[in-house]
């Protein structure tokens, strides 16, 4: 049997990748993808804890994973729509060029 730690470590790795991508990539779409990675890492943890936890009849882990997926779908839809809208008006998707809020 694969130990729980293996899943958690994998999730931590994916999460770190996502963290790096979300903070370092200039392209907004890339950042969004990185965020997806982070969400997936979390999901792995949720499911792993469900599988290895003491009470597997309690399906909270899976339920939450599904909620996360649904929220991710909503987030991507709105996020991408925003990016497209910004691209249309400003001709850029680079996050460090999108600084209308700069004082």
């Amino acid at each position: 049997m694969v130990p729980l730690q293996a899943y958690l470590t994998l999730a931590a790795f994916i999460f770190s990748c996502g963290l790096y991508g979300a903070l370092a990539r200039r392209n907004a779409i890339a950042m969004l993808m990185a965020v997806e990675l982070m969400l997936n890492a979390v999901n792995i943890n949720l499911v792993a804890f469900w599988r290895y936890g003491p009470n597997r009849d309690d399906l909270a882990g899976q339920t939450f994973a599904i909620f996360v997926i649904a929220v991710a779908a909503a987030e991507v839809a709105v996020g991408l729509a925003l990016i497209i809208a910004i691209y249309r008006s400003r001709k850029t998707v680079y996050l460090d060029e999108i600084d209308l809020l700069q004082g």
């Binding site: 730690q5 994916i14 790096y20 370092a24 392209n27 990675l37 597997r56 839809a77 991408l80 497209i84």
Partner: protein, 178 residues
Amino acid sequence: MPELPVEIPIPTPHQAVFIMVAVATGVASLLVVTNRNLFYSALCLVGALFGVAGVYVLLEAEFLAITQVLVYVGAIATLITFAIMLTRGIMFGVTSPNNRYMFAVMSMALLVFLLVAGVVDRVPWAVAEDLTLSGDGKSMIVDLGWEFVTTYALPLELIGLLLLIALVGAVMLARDDE
């Protein structure tokens, strides 16, 4: 057979499959954030998401795995690819794909990984003794369904509402005003 100083365990088929899936997923997700070509990033993301679905299968959450494929690969990845194609005009450029915090962030991410991995390794997780699942997969799906319409009925409705609002909002945002 001479005693080795460190015992290298022979992986079971299950573990072998996990190692393959995990390595593939990890590499794919690393590629997602490092690839210069955004389109390849998206392809790698698809790969990584498939990998995660595989992880779910290994965790015997088939329904979740299929949902993962359905939603992530079928919808989210497609959307992202679409967005990449729509903004392709500025995808290839001489400028760096990463911003000026790149190295700081890289070290930070590394730190986070090491920290979490260390903690994960050290914490004595309260893992159940018997890891076999009771009942077959179908009963689990039925249970999941019940959970959704009983315990999590309100969150489910809210999620539905959220999706609807997100869809409408996305359409409104992305619509060409002409």
